[in-house]
Symmetry: C2
Subunit: 360 residues, 2 copies
């Protein structure tokens, strides 16, 4: 490439940062430039274990990363409760921001982050990786083809995994002072995003949490679900949980077609992913015996890069447009983050108010 | 067979009766013996078109079928609003009863039917065909294997089809005086049964309809959904519709396993059916990259007889036990009918009361 790659600084040594370090390495327009941790030893070990170049900067604080003028962009996998502080600081230092999800504890905090980014003219994108998989674009072709899919009527999404005892006692995602949104923020984020994606990002008119929310002893959500309704009559449900076996499902039902995907968050295989689409109106013959047609068509999408590397490349492309060509930040990404957070807040409000219906 | 086959009389020439006529023909312990319609010409044509033997009785009324002392059992595909009258009359004439679903407009009507059957000592079974497919038994082996599936946490089921204009204007399932439960009674019945089946027939403690219920101009349900909650924290949702493309899905999520089936109501193929089960706890490696294991295992179940013929054979077997060996009616089937109707009534009550939570 003629242009220098975008230099990333990573704040903290979270597990997910291992995956993103690899993604930055795999992304041709991106460079692993710096890592900061409260412990410089941890930072050094992280850099060594995750393929940082010898020239990479290893810092003993987050501030040091933000103060490095060479850092173009920050990847921030900190606990959600720390996002507003560090994201606003990063934006203030003109760092572009790749922010882990959930992006904030609530819309009010997110708006502080978004305002800081807008005022600094920096790009913000949340790290919802599946948005960048070529399968997602392929599924969109189907969903937004009115003859094949028709009008959206119903979506169901589910993201669950059976966390072990150690996770349920010690992970940041079960701690009220760290990731206070629990399973809703971690797993539910993806379900809500998938539902909004299928609804072409139109917000529902109302949201209601479903009975059976499970809280841990500290009051953090371990499992919950919600239902949504739009003005035009379409509806959606989701379920998310830390205590049920793995699901990463989205079923999207239109008047003419159905789309099913069972691994939308992280494809089972890195280099290929599939989905089932039924773009016919199947029926049974007049004796109600034979299906015509059998409604199953699997589309397989191959990709040379994992979705997280594609995400990083797209983020760096946008940053490069700003840095080298004076472009403005792409507004689509903060808009999607905010819409997801608006619905997430509504679900949380419904849970906190005895499953009351919340208008969006 | 040493014993004479069970002689069936069919009340009415509904479309679904074509499928059941074939099922009775295919069932070795069952005989197509009589057909009754309000029009004897229609009855004669139906008998001719559906492989009735020349010796079959063709009647111009339902009463004539019930008055024929040779008729052992009645298959009743009448509109739901007529069930209570004709089922009670049939039981009074000591006819065993294979009753189309939904079995009644509400539990009060169903209880009149069940009391009449019990008092007459006749078998009653509802015509929920998928219960009798060998795939269902195979799925049960998985669901009730505590090491492979674990504890049930969540079920989602959906049954929808895109009805055409003629159906939406003229079918009995959109008419308040015929099948007043609309899509809830027709499609929702299967979802509720699937959920109860997965929950080992334990009733939920509460049911709430989801926003977005669609009614036609006569007030009949065209699309709706509901959520359920059990005392032990498991939850379920379903969606049913006459205006979305075909789905017949059940996803059953336990602590250790997941079961998925996309054609549970009527298998796409008559002689084989499959389901996906994941009986491992998949995880991703510490770099959050590689799946281990990839959670997909498809089980294919072959069957020589279609599920409706297996249903008829099981019904006739129970009737034969009563007729030839003095057995008592099998109570499991009316119990399952009643539990399904109890939940269906709760969904209807919630819809009729602005999505209020209804205790079961």
């Amino acid at each position: 490439m003629a242009e220098a790659p975008i230099k990333f600084g990573i704040l903290g040594c979270a597990n997910i940062a291992r995956k993103l370090s690899r993604a930055i390495r795999l992304s041709p327009n991106s460079e692993l430039y710096a890592i900061g941790s409260r412990s410089v030893e941890r930072a050094a070990k992280f850099a060594k274990d995750n393929g940082f170049p010898d020239s990479a900067k290893v810092y003993g604080s987050y501030d040091a990363v933000l103060d490095d003028p060479e850092v173009d962009a920050v990847y921030m996998p900190l606990p959600t409760s720390l996002h507003v502080k560090w994201a606003v600081l990063a934006a203030g230092k003109k760092k572009h921001l790749l922010l882990e999800k959930p992006v904030a504890l609530n819309v009010a905090e997110l708006d502080l982050i978004l305002e800081a980014c807008e005022s600094a003219g920096v790009q913000i994108m949340d790290a919802t990786m599946w948005m960048h998989h070529p399968r997602t674009a392929k599924m969109e072709e189907f969903l937004f083809d009115s003859s094949r899919f028709g009008e959206l009527k119903f979506v169901h999404s589910s993201f669950s995994f059976a966390a072990d005892k150690n996770f349920l006692e010690n992970d940041i995602r079960v701690k009220p002072d760290l990731d206070a949104l629990g399973a809703l923020g971690d797993a539910g984020w993806y379900c809500i995003r998938a539902i909004l994606w299928a609804a072409d990002y139109r917000l529902p008119k109302s949201v209601v949490s479903l009975g059976g929310t499970v809280l841990n002893s500290a009051g953090v959500i371990i499992a919950c679900g919600a239902s949504m309704e739009w003005d035009d009559g379409k509806t959606a449900t989701f379920h998310c949980s830390f205590t049920a076996n793995m699901t990463m499902d989205a079923t999207v039902v239109g008047t003419n077609g159905v789309l099913r995907v069972n691994d939308f968050v992280i494809p089972y295989e890195e280099n290929r992913a599939s989905f089932l689409s039924a773009a016919e109106k199947p029926g049974i013959d007049e004796n109600l015996q034979e299906w015509e047609p059998v409604p199953a068509e699997e589309t397989v999408v191959a990709t040379e890069s994992p979705q997280e590397a594609l995400m990083v490349s797209e983020f760096s492309r946008l940053v490069g447009n700003i840095k080298f060509r004076g472009a403005s930040p792409e507004k689509r990404w903060p808009e999607l983050s905010r819409k997801t957070q608006v619905v997430l807040d509504a679900v949380k409000a419904s849970i906190d108010n005895s499953d009351q219906v919340i208008e969006c």
